[in-house]
Symmetry: C2
C-alpha cells in the first residue's frame, strides 16, 4: 500500500482537476444553470445527518450561542474502520445544495474504495438546507442575520464537526483529508492552513486562491481566456476579436437591433437596443469564459451540457462554417455549441431572470469578504475593448450597512509573496 498511495493520489488529483465543478468567484459564477442533469444522481450510499453548530464560533455574545442544524452526508460503506486507522475524506461544501455537490463528485465514491475511506460531505452554512434562524427568509433578511455567512465561520464549522465526528466514532487516529473544487477548493486550502491539526492534507482543484486583493495581475483572467482560444486557432481568435466592432456597427444602424436579434435567433420579445448590446455581448463573453473553464476532453454537464473539447469545436464552426460565412453566423454557430449542445433550444432567451427579493448568499460573500479584484483587458484581449467584466458585482448591489473588507482574506490567509 505504501508506494501505491502517492501514485493514486496523483491520479486523484488529475481526475479532480478534470472533473470538478468550477464554482468560481462571485460574478464569474453568475451563470445560469440551464440544466442540472446531475442533481438527482446519488453517488455512493450515504446517510443524511445533521450537526448542531454554533452560529458564531469566535465571539461570546448571547447571539453567538444561537445554534443551527448543519447538514452532512456520510458514507461508511467502504471505511476500513477506526482500529485500522482508515482515513476520513471530507468534501467541503460550496454554495450548492450538498446533495447536488455529492452528485457531481463521483470520484469521491471511487477513491473511497481504494483507500477504505469514510466519505463525508459537509454542507456550507447558509446554503442548501443548512440555514440558521430557522428559515431562509429570516437568515437572509438583513446584515444582522447574514453577517455570520463567511469563510472563517464556515471553516470553523468543518473543524468542529470533524473533531466531534472523530470522537463519536472513536476514530481519533484516522487521518482526515479535505477535498474541494472551485470555492470549496479555496476553502480546503485554507482549512489545511488554519487547521493542520485536523486535516493531514487537502486536495484543492481549480481553486483560485490568489484571486484576491490584487495578488495576481488584473489582466490575468482575460489573458488566460484569450490565450486558451488563441492556442486553439489563431484565425478563430481573430474572428471573435473583430466581431465586437462589427456588431456595434450593425447596432448603430437603423433596425440594426432587430437584424442582429434575428441573426442570433434571440427569442421574442427582443430587448431594446442598448440592452441588446449588453446582453448579446454578455451571452458571447460567457460562452468564451465557460467553454474555456470547462474545456474537458470528454462530454461534461457541469454548467451546461458540452461536447468534448468545446473550445476546439466552437473554433471549428467559426473557422469552417457549414452555412453562411458572415461573422454573426460564425459566432452563432459557436453559441449553439455552447448553449445548445442538445439542439433543443429554438432561440436564445435574453429576458432577465426574475429578481429574488433578498440578496443571494453568494452575492453577500462578494460584498463583504470575497471581494473580487478589478479585471483589466489588454489591447490584444479576445474581449471587447471596453470590456468591463459587466457581470462583475457592483457595489451598488450590496447592502448599505456593510462595507467590503478587501484585505481581510490576505490578512487572514496570506498569499502576498514576501520574505515575511
Amino acid at each position: 500500500m505504501g508506494i501505491l498511495k502517492p501514485i493514486l493520489f496523483v491520479q486523484v488529483l488529475l481526475i479532480s482537476l478534470f472533473s470538478s465543478s468550477h464554482s468560481l468567484l462571485p460574478s464569474r459564477h453568475h451563470f445560469r444553470h440551464h440544466h442540472h442533469p446531475h442533481s438527482h444522481i446519488v453517488n455512493g450510499s450515504y446517510h443524511i445527518k445533521h450537526f448542531t453548530q454554533n452560529l458564531d464560533h469566535f465571539d461570546y455574545t448571547p447571539e453567538s450561542y444561537r445554534t443551527f442544524q448543519q447538514r452532512y452526508l456520510i458514507d461508511t460503506t467502504c471505511w476500513g474502520g477506526a482500529k485500522k486507522g482508515s482515513p476520513i475524506f471530507v468534501f467541503i461544501g460550496d454554495q450548492e445544495d450538498i446533495q447536488h455537490t455529492a452528485g457531481t463528485k463521483g470520484y469521491m465514491f471511487e477513491i473511497n474504495k481504494v483507500f477504505k475511506a469514510m466519505v463525508v460531505f459537509i454542507e456550507h452554512r447558509y446554503y442548501g438546507k443548512s440555514i440558521p434562524y430557522g428559515s431562509k427568509e429570516v437568515a437572509y433578511k438583513n446584515s444582522t442575520t447574514l453577517g455570520y455567512l463567511n469563510t472563517r465561520q464556515a471553516l470553523a464549522d468543518v473543524a468542529t464537526l470533524v473533531t466531534d465526528l472523530k470522537k463519536n466514532v472513536s476514530a481519533l487516529d484516522s487521518p482526515v483529508v479535505v477535498f474541494g473544487s472551485g470555492y470549496a477548493g479555496i476553502m480546503a486550502t485554507w482549512f489545511r492552513l488554519k487547521y493542520p491539526h485536523v486535516a493531514l492534507g487537502a486536495l484543492a482543484s481549480s481553486a483560485p486562491i490568489l484571486d484576491f486583493d490584487n495578488m495576481v495581475s488584473p489582466h490575468s483572467f482575460t489573458d488566460i481566456i484569450t490565450k486558451n482560444i488563441k492556442s486553439e486557432s489563431e484565425s478563430c481568435y481573430k474572428t471573435i476579436k473583430k466581431s465586437w466592432g462589427e456588431f456595434e456597427k450593425i447596432l448603430k444602424q437603423n433596425g440594426g437591433g432587430d437584424k442582429l436579434s434575428k441573426s442570433f435567433k434571440i427569442c421574442a420579445p427582443h430587448p431594446i437596443k442598448d440592452d441588446l448590446h449588453d446582453k448579446l455581448f454578455g451571452l458571447i463573453e460567457l460562452a468564451l469564459i465557460y467553454s474555456s473553464l470547462s474545456d474537458y476532453p470528454y462530454e461534461s454537464h457541469i454548467h451546461t451540457p458540452l461536447p468534448p473539447f468545446p473550445v476546439k469545436r466552437m473554433c471549428e464552426v467559426i473557422d469552417y462554417p457549414k452555412g453562411a460565412r458572415d461573422t454573426a453566423s460564425r459566432i452563432l454557430g459557436a453559441l449553439n455549441i455552447f448553449y445548445n449542445h442538445t439542439g433543443k433550444s429554438p432561440c436564445f432567451n435574453l429576458t432577465s431572470e426574475s429578481k429574488s427579493s433578498g440578496i443571494q448568499g453568494w452575492k453577500w460573500q462578494g460584498c463583504t469578504e470575497l471581494v473580487e479584484p478589478s479585471i483589466k483587458n489588454k489591447n490584444d484581449s479576445i474581449f471587447p475593448p471596453d470590456y468591463k467584466h459587466q457581470h462583475k458585482q457592483k457595489s451598488s448591489d450590496c447592502p448599505k450597512d456593510v462595507k467590503p473588507r478587501p484585505h481581510s482574506i490576505t490578512t487572514e490567509f496570506g498569499g502576498h509573496v514576501s520574505l515575511l
Copy 2:
C-alpha cells in the same frame, strides 16, 4: 552575523524564561499585585500610537463594523530600516496595561540593539487603554459588549495591525518575530500557528499552551509545585505537609481562631473561624505556588518583591527557624519571606478586596474560552488533602447568559496528540 543569530536567540530564550511575568491561567493569576515596582519604569524610547481596529474581524453584522482604538508602543531607535530588511519584534500584550508590560520586558530593549530590530508592543483589546465602546464601563457592561473579548479576535488584531504597519513603513521584507510570556506566550504560539505568513517566528516563554481541555494530567499542577519544594528540602516538604492538619486541629479548639490569627500576625479585625480557615490556607497556598513560579536565582519584583531563590529561603526558615520552633512559627517565617521581603508589613491583611461591580476581563475569558481544567491533588501533594484549588474560578461567578466552550481552544489551535 549568520552564526551568531541562533546563539543569541538561545540566550534570549534563557533570559526570557527567567525574567518574564507569569501571567498564568485565570485563577492561578488571582494574586494581588501588592507592588508594581516596575510599572513606572520606561524601557527603551518608544512612542505611543493608536490603530483603528474592527471590533469583530470575522463577522459582517453591522455591529462588527464598530471600531476601537488599539494602543501600541513603537521603538524604532535601533531599527536598521526597511531597505536592509531589519526585523520587527512584536511583543504581544496580555491582560496588563501595555506600558507596564513594556516596563517589565527589558530584554526587548536589549535584543533590539543586537538585531537592529524595531520593537512594537501591542496592547490586548479590552485591557489597558485599548477599550472598545468608548469606556470601560460600557465595554464591560454585559455579555453583548464583552463578547468580543477573546483570543481569536485579539490575534486578528495583531495580524491586522502588523500587516498595516509593515505597509505603512514600506517594510514588507522585514521579518516579524512575535514574543510573549505567560498568557501572551500562549498568544505568541497561537499567532505563529494561525498567521505563519505574518510572523516568521515566535518566542513564547512560560506559556502553558497545553493547560486546556484536559490535555495534561489534572495532577500536573500540584505535582510540579510539590516536586519543586520537595527537591529543595524533604523535611521542609514534610513540615508544610503536616501543618494543614495541625492548623485544622487548632481551629477546632475554643479560641483556636484567635490563637492562630495571633500566631500568623493577621491584621485586626480577624476573620471569623470558617473564613479564617479558607483565607489562611489560601495565603499559604499562594505563597507556595508563586514562590515556585518565581523561583529565580536573583531578586525579582514580578508578583511581589522576592529574594533570590525564594523557595530555598522559605525552606531554610522552615527547617532552621531562628525563633520559636512550632509549626506555625516556621510557616510564618516562610510567609514573611514571600509576602514581606521588604519587612514593611507589620501584619497580614486578610480582609476581602472591594468587589468591583462588573466582571473583570480576565475572569470573563475564563468563563468563556480559556476554561481552566480541573485540578486534582494526590495523597503526597504538598497541598491540604481537601485542596480544591479554592482560587479556581467558580462557574457561579460567570454571567448567566454565556456558557463555557471548553473544547474551543483545542478545536481551534490543536494540542491533543493524535496521528490526525
